[in-house]
Amino acid sequence: MSQPLHPVERALLRPFLTREDPGSFLSSDDLGPMSGLSPAQVQMGLEMVKSRGLIEERLDREETLLRPTDQGIAALDEGLPEEIIMEALAAGPRPMSDLRGLFPDPSVASKAMGALKDAGSLKVEGGQAVRAGDLPPGVLLLKKLLKMSAEAPVVLESLPKEEQELLSQYQRRRGKEKGLIRLDVRSFRSYRLSPEAGLTPSDLESGGELLGNVTPEMLQSRSWEGGTFRPFSVGADAPPPLQGHLHPYREFLEEVRGHLVRLGFAEMTGSLVEPEFWNMDALFIPQTHPARNIHDIYLISEPRLATDSHEWPMEAVARTHEGREAPLPTRGWRQGFDPEQAKRLLMRSQGTALSSRTLSKKPSVPGKYFAIARCFRHDQVDATHAVDFFQAEGIVLEEDASFVTLLGLLALLAREIAGVDQVHYKPAYFPFTEPSVELHAHHPELGWMELGGAGLFRPEVTRPLGVEVPVIAWGMGIDRMAMFRLGLSDIRDLFTGDLSVLSGMIRAEERSWAHTSPPADLPR
């Protein structure tokens, strides 16, 4: 024996070595009384000797235990969905929508109605559900098993063959963790000495006192001198530490923020609520633009209008919209400008609102500003549309900012933020920039994707706000990049409260860390 044994290992191995036939198997249930160890100690000891290759393991049999789920226990009180439906139909036919209304989750009703229809217990005639028979035998059995298993665990294998069959069909339909009954598999195992280990009873001798944990007293008295430390099973499973995590999406945003700060951008922040003036008018979006329709923006009930409009360059913006000469030659939108509409308060619909505010506050030249702003979209919420989302965007004020420096900046952003080298510029249209460009990037795994939009702010935007130098404006959709990084296919999961989904995101982030190599140095 190269390394001395731990006392628990000695206790566990003793029953094997003291038997007449040291090669025979012992079950874990036998080992408890024979070794005098507690069940937890037996488990720990088995792990230790297994990891050292001292014993072999054999799977004897498995049995499946039936236990009611939380839903199952609730169903015992309230009745199974199928029962509730059949009871509701006892008095006569009822519309399907009525039946769905009986359950907080309409999908429960749909599933149960489907099952009843398949079993011939229910018919649908002209939108009405009609009782066509008794409760299916499957439902009755399920109820019986639910009752039995609520009292004491039921072993699946001890049930008659037909019942086993019915139950496993039910489980296949419902999925593993869902439904009313949960099936847990329990394994029974036996162990014997591994012939290769060549253990002999003499290995059980303690061979003198071995040193256990290092203690302050031990160090004080130097009692460790000349002794041998008992080796610990270094490979055995360790308890996981309790750890906290920063949100992976927020961490992704921090990474983007870090890139932008390093590129010389200063961050802008602002209120979640903006007047249309800063969100739209100052950006030269015509007051009749479809994006200003009430089906596209969230308006605030109270207060409805901003009260600080006297501080805004309203007159200059109005003149520009109406095309009244000053402050620059523009044809304008050839329609009246309504200052009341400009005061209307809405949930910020684009981060560009922060840029227009910044432009009006005598920004530095040269200057770079960015925002990672929460924005709001009036849309049916689904896997690709979130009610609020983050937008990254920025502006660059520079005496000689131009279209080619805009293209250069976009290439830089694509490389720094998205880690892509291959980009393509497509002509685009935005009311507030001219020329406008869409940045498409070739992602190694997603293929070509639109990364963002950009352009030079129109003079109709900059001049009324008092800016005389050209201004580059850019915006990036960062949701999609984040979803890819975090292994998500549903945008709503970025803001999930489900801790298991969050754990999945954390794992995906950890995996993607291993796969992403930092981009190479930029060419000079």
């Binding site: 951008f265 600080d308 500003y369 520079e398």
Partner: protein, 586 residues
């Protein structure tokens, strides 16, 4: 953004050399379009059009015209422009418009197109173009509506026409696709188009009707045509097209686009003159508008040298009919650029310069890296957030991010709090997102209620923005941005003292001390809640054990404690407090 459907062979029939599907994505850059879908079996395609300001591109004909560089097809010149230029404005109008219409539907213009054939593809295209122009450019017909009629349909249309106001109850006609006459009011009340567009006119006492020289009612603009001339069919060789609305320039543009499209399909277009009180409109016609582009602008916008001759040549190839150089050498030197008659999107000189860049192709420009040095920095607010986040992380907490819009019950009844100071959305898309969150607690509790299967203990936090209403000196209520942090622990021994310790440690990170006074504040258990107050007695933080009744509402079956702190108030952050709107601070 408009989506255009069409047939590749039809598109190719309007081009000098056919394009293959593989060419399309690159070629469509010139029209700001994206090749979205192509079915090789039917050869039908879908193109997404991104330029919402160029309705001339919202048709197969328009895309083909731009790709041809604005040049008419051989044998199909835009000679109607010359005919319009020659037409004497003083002559009797082809369409007279009643003065009373100025309050209802002020302007109408139209033209005849004869001697061509649409075919199935052309007719489908014409109807699609008409729809897109009326719906998108005409804002659901409020600003512009278009009618197309067979000139010699069930009954030949006789000129001159009159656009006038008639009584909605005594005036009767047969709406398109029906067989019995009904009053205007009945049509608006029952016909699908009447229900959709009737509200544009129904508040008036008399309604707009277009009638021909025989007094036959042709249509009830902007609602529906009559059955008099009937529907346009693929074999029709002669058409009458009209547009009504509030803005003569918009009407002229729409008619110019449709005339160009029909001319491209081989129709002979004949402009018509309409007159009302104090105005006349001849359409189609070139408005002759030009834009002055200062000589230095193209190079300044591009950021590289440009050649004046190249500028002219490239734009002529992009559909601009004429460009002249002005004041060479002088400070006000530049180019006078005539706008194509089918476009009206040039607001200023930069629009012309963009076309120049698009025509040259963005791929032909070498990107230049920005050179100016600027110092970057995160916002002060973010620095605070990150200090809080790392403090929580060190204490073993996991961060959550929740939606800022939420349902009202989540932040009122389910917390035992009132909704008196809620910021509400006037037009919510869903009741689940109808108010701006005033607290982060509901997000943490919602997470807890979904996570009973996740191994305990749960230690969660969130930092972020929220809003509430605050009383103003004027007596009104203003918006107040909140900057909050909240934490929650849930496990069998969860209690107030654990979180009090966390809150104390968090405050210490900002060199602040925690002095708690007992308070009775839902959703906490009375007697197990403490608050931290600011110098003016305002509540800065509250910590406590969540009341079992609240836990029950959220379906949480585990002892839970929480705290929330108003970080903005604690640190007296800039932009915090009653000034409702604070922007970026340059």
């Amino acid at each position: 953004m408009p989506t255009l459907e069409g047939h590749l062979d039809d598109l190719n029939s309007l081009l000098p050399a056919p394009l293959s599907p593989e060419d399309m994505n690159q070629v469509l850059d010139r029209v700001k379009g994206e090749w979205k879908h192509f079915d090789p079996a039917t050869r039908r395609f879908k193109i997404e059009l991104n330029d919402t300001n160029r309705p001339d591109l919202w048709s197969v004909e328009g895309i083909a015209r731009q790709l041809r560089g604005g040049i008419p097809l051989p044998g199909r010149p835009y000679s109607f422009l010359d005919r319009a230029a020659k037409r004497e404005r003083g002559t009797a109008p082809d369409i007279s418009v009643d003065p009373g219409l100025s309050r209802v539907r002020p302007f109408l213009g139209g033209f005849r197109a004869t001697g061509g054939t649409l075919g199935e593809e052309g007719l489908a295209g014409l109807i699609g173009t008409q729809e897109r122009l009326s719906e998108l450019f005409g804002r659901k017909r409020a600003d512009l509506a278009i009618g197309v009629y067979p000139l010699k349909g069930r009954k030949e249309i006789s000129f001159p026409l009159s656009f006038r106001l008639l009584d909605p109850d005594t005036t009767r006609f047969v709406p398109l696709g029906e067989d019995a006459p009904r009053s205007l009011r009945e049509v608006v009340a029952t016909h699908p188009k009447g229900i959709a567009y009737g509200p544009l006119i129904s508040s008036h006492s008399s309604w707009p009707v277009l009638a021909d020289a025989q007094g036959e009612i042709l249509s009830l603009p902007p609602v529906i045509n009559s059955q008099t001339s009937g529907a346009v069919v693929p074999d029709d060789r002669d058409l009458f097209v009209e547009a009504t609305g509030n803005d003569p320039q918009r009407i002229l543009l729409a008619l110019n686009i449709l005339a160009a499209n029909l001319s491209d399909r081989g129709f002979h277009v004949e402009p018509l003159l309409s007159k009302g009180e104090g105005w006349d409109l001849l359409a189609p016609a070139s408005p002759g508008l030009s834009v002055f582009v200062p000589a230095g602008l193209p190079a300044r916008v591009l950021g590289a040298k440009t050649d004046p001759l190249d500028f002219i040549e490239v734009l002529l190839g992009f559909g601009y009919p004429a460009i002249s150089r002005k004041g060479e050498g002088a400070s006000e030197a530049g180019f006078e650029v005539l706008q194509p008659f089918y476009r009206d999107d040039l607001l200023g000189a930069v629009d012309v310069v963009e076309d120049y860049l698009v025509a040259r192709g963005f791929a032909s420009f070498a990107p230049v890296m920005p050179r100016a040095f600027t110092a970057g920095s995160p916002a002060p607010k973010i620095k605070v957030e990150n200090r809080i986040r790392t403090a929580f992380l060190a204490m073993g907490f996991t961060e959550l991010l929740s939606n800022i819009l939420t349902g009202e019950p989540a932040v009122t009844t389910r917390l035992g709090r009132s909704g008196d100071f809620l910021v509400r959305i006037d037009n919510p898309a869903s009741l689940h997102y109808a108010v701006v969150r005033p607290t982060l607690l509901s997000g943490l509790l919602a997470a807890e209620s979904r996570s009973a299967r996740h191994p305990y203990p749960h230690r969660l936090f969130e930092v972020g923005e929220a809003m509430e209403l605050s009383p103003l000196p004027s007596g009104d209520r203003g918006l107040k941005d909140l900057h909050l942090a909240a934490a929650l622990v849930s496990h069998p021994q969860a209690g107030i003292s654990e979180l009090q310790g966390v809150l104390e440690a968090l405050l210490a990170r900002f060199d602040q001390r925690l002095v708690l006074e007992p308070a009775d504040l839902p959703p906490y258990i009375p007697g197990r809640c403490g608050v931290l107050r600011g110098p003016r007695g305002e509540r800065i933080a509250a910590v406590g054990e969540i009341h079992p009744a609240t836990l029950d509402l959220w379906g949480i079956r585990m002892p839970t404690a929480a705290f929330e702190i108003d970080v903005g108030a604690l640190l007296a952050e800039e932009g915090h407090g009653d000034s409702p709107h604070s922007g970026g601070d340059p």
